[in-house]
C-alpha cells in the first residue's frame, strides 16, 4: 500500500492542502477528492480535452497529470471561471450562440478558449479551430462553438 502524499496548491484562487494517492490523476483528484465535478472525463488518455484545466497558465488534460504534481502550482477549473453572480464573457457567448448541446465537453472548451483569448485576443477562425482541436465535441459540429469564441473576441 503506497502512502498518500500531501499537496499544497492554489485552486481557483484559494489555497488548498490535501492528501491524495500518488497514482491518482489530477482529473480524479479534482472530481473525487476535491468535489469539483465540473471537469469531465471523456477518454482518460489525452485525446478529447473534456478534462481540460489551466495549470500555471497553460491548458493541460488533467487526465494526463497526477494530482501530486500540482503541489506548488496554480490550477484553475471551470468552477473558477465565473465571478460570483457574473459569467465570464465566453460563458455568456456560449449561451447566446447555442454553442452547447449535451454540455459534457463545454467546460473543457471554455477553459481552452479562455486561455486562447488571454494569449491572443483576436484570433482568426483558423487559429480558433487549431487551438480547439484538442477538444472533441460530437454534438455541435463546432460551428457555433467557433462563432461563440469569435463573438467573445469581438465584444471584449
Amino acid at each position: 500500500m503506497v502512502e498518500k502524499v500531501r499537496v499544497r496548491a492554489t485552486l481557483n484562487g484559494e489555497p488548498v492542502d490535501f492528501l491524495v494517492a500518488p497514482y491518482t490523476s489530477l482529473l480524479d483528484t479534482l472530481r473525487d477528492e476535491l468535489g469539483l465535478t465540473g471537469t469531465k472525463e471523456g477518454c482518460n488518455d489525452g485525446n478529447c480535452g473534456a478534462c481540460t484545466v489551466n495549470m500555471d497558465g497553460r491548458i493541460v488534460d488533467s487526465c494526463c497529470v497526477l494530482g501530486a504534481e500540482i503541489d506548488g502550482s496554480t490550477v484553475e477549473t471551470i468552477e473558477g471561471m465565473a465571478e460570483p453572480g457574473k459569467l465570464h464573457l465566453l460563458q455568456q457567448t456560449f449561451l447566446e450562440e447555442a454553442a452547447l448541446q449535451c454540455g459534457i465537453c463545454t467546460p473543457g472548451f471554455l477553459v481552452s478558449a479562455k486561455a486562447l483569448l488571454e494569449k491572443e485576443p483576436h484570433p482568426s477562425e483558423t487559429r480558433i479551430r487549431f487551438w480547439l482541436s484538442g477538444n472533441l465535441c460530437r454534438c455541435t459540429g463546432y460551428d457555433k462553438i467557433v462563432k461563440a469564441v469569435q463573438k467573445a473576441a469581438e465584444s471584449a
Binding site: 500500500m1 503506497v2 502524499v5 494517492a21 500518488p22 497514482y23 490523476s25 482518460n44 488518455d45 489525452g46 485525446n47 480535452g49 481540460t52 495549470m55 497553460r58 491548458i59 493541460v60 488534460d61 487526465c63 494526463c64 497529470v65 497526477l66 501530486a68 504534481e69 503541489d71 481552452s112 486561455a115 487549431f130 487551438w131 482541436s133 484538442g134 477538444n135
Partner: protein
C-alpha cells in the same frame, strides 16, 4: 493500475538514485502524456514515477554560440513560443506544434517523445536531421548517444535501469542549413503519423553539401535513411529529390495495420521526402 509512488526529484542525482532503486519498475515522468496513459493501460507495472520537471538540467533551453541545448523535460510550447529558437529551428517548430493538441503541448516535449521510442514519433526525425546528441545520466556518470542510435525497437531505447535522458544537444545551424518535418495523418490534428519525414540540407549555392533524411512510422524505430548521403554533392533539383524519395522508400520496412498499409506508407514516404526536401531547401535559402 498497480499503485506507484510519486517521487519529485530536485536534481539529476536524486532522479538517478530513485530510478536505480526501482530498476525497471520505475520510469521518469516528464509531460506524462504517454507514461501515465501506458501505466493505466497496464503496459508496465510500476512502483515509482520519478518526476524530472523540477531538475534545472532537464529544463534547460540554451542557444549557445555553437550549440543548442534542450532539456529532456522542456515541453513543446517552449520551442514554438520562443522567437529565437523558432527562427533557428523551424523544423523543431514543425513537430512541436503538431504533437497532440495545445493541452498536450503544454506538457509533452521532445525528450519524452524520444524516450517513448515510438516508431511513429514526430519528434525524433527532426532531432536526427539536426544531428542531435542525447546526454544520458546514470549511476556511473553521464554518456552521450547520437539520437539516431537512441531507439532500439518499438518502445525500447538505449536507456538502461537507473538511467535518465537529461538533455539533447545539437549544433546551431550554419548559413545555408535548412530543415523541415512533415507527416501524413488522416485528420488535421490529434492524430498519429501514417508516415513522417524530416529532411535537412546544408546548401552551398544550389549544391547540397550534405543532407539528412529521417523517416517515421515505416520501421520498428525512426530511421536515418541513406537517401540523405546520396544527395551529398548534388544539385537541389526536383529530379534529385525524386531520386532521394525513391532511395528513402527503399530504406523502409513498414507494416500494414489500422493506421495504414505497407503500400500507402511507402508511397507517402516518397511524397513527404520530396516535399520536406523542397521546404528544407527553401529554408536553407532563406537562411543565407
Amino acid at each position: 493500475m498497480h499503485p506507484f509512488e510519486y517521487v519529485r526529484a530536485k536534481s539529476v542525482d536524486e532522479a538517478v538514485a530513485a530510478l536505480a532503486k526501482h530498476g525497471e519498475r520505475a520510469r521518469p515522468l516528464a509531460g506524462g502524456t504517454d507514461v501515465l496513459v501506458m501505466a493505466r493501460a497496464g503496459r508496465w507495472e510500476l512502483d515509482a514515477l520519478v518526476d524530472i520537471k523540477h531538475i534545472p538540467e532537464t529544463n534547460i533551453v540554451e542557444l549557445g554560440a555553437s550549440e543548442f541545448r534542450l532539456g529532456a523535460a522542456v515541453p513543446c510550447y517552449r520551442i514554438y513560443e520562443d522567437d529565437e529558437i523558432s527562427a533557428k529551428f523551424p523544423c523543431l517548430v514543425d513537430t512541436a506544434s503538431i504533437i497532440g493538441g495545445i493541452q498536450i503541448q503544454s506538457r509533452a516535449g521532445l525528450g519524452g517523445n524520444l524516450c517513448n521510442a515510438s516508431p511513429s514519433a514526430d519528434g525524433i526525425g527532426p532531432l536526427i536531421v539536426h544531428h542531435a546528441t542525447c546526454v544520458i545520466a546514470g549511476p556511473n556518470g553521464t554518456r552521450e548517444v547520437a539520437v539516431e542510435d537512441f531507439c532500439t525497437g518499438p518502445g525500447r531505447s538505449v536507456i538502461g535501469n537507473g538511467e535518465l535522458l537529461v538533455e539533447m544537444k545539437m549544433p546551431i545551424p550554419r548559413k545555408g542549413f535548412g530543415a523541415a518535418y512533415e507527416r501524413f495523418t488522416p485528420r488535421n490534428e490529434m492524430d498519429i503519423a501514417i508516415a513522417g519525414v524530416a529532411s535537412s540540407v546544408q546548401l552551398n549555392g544550389n549544391i547540397i553539401e550534405s543532407a539528412r533524411i529521417a523517416l517515421a512510422s515505416v520501421g520498428p524505430t525512426p530511421i536515418l535513411s541513406s537517401a540523405g548521403d546520396q544527395l551529398a554533392g548534388k544539385e537541389a533539383t526536383a529530379e534529385n529529390f525524386s531520386a532521394a524519395a525513391q532511395a528513402a522508400i527503399a530504406d523502409t520496412s513498414p507494416i500494414s495495420d489500422m493506421r495504414g498499409t505497407v503500400e500507402q506508407r511507402k508511397h507517402l514516404v516518397g511524397v513527404l521526402t520530396r516535399r520536406t526536401l523542397e521546404r528544407a531547401v527553401e529554408r536553407a535559402r532563406e537562411n543565407n
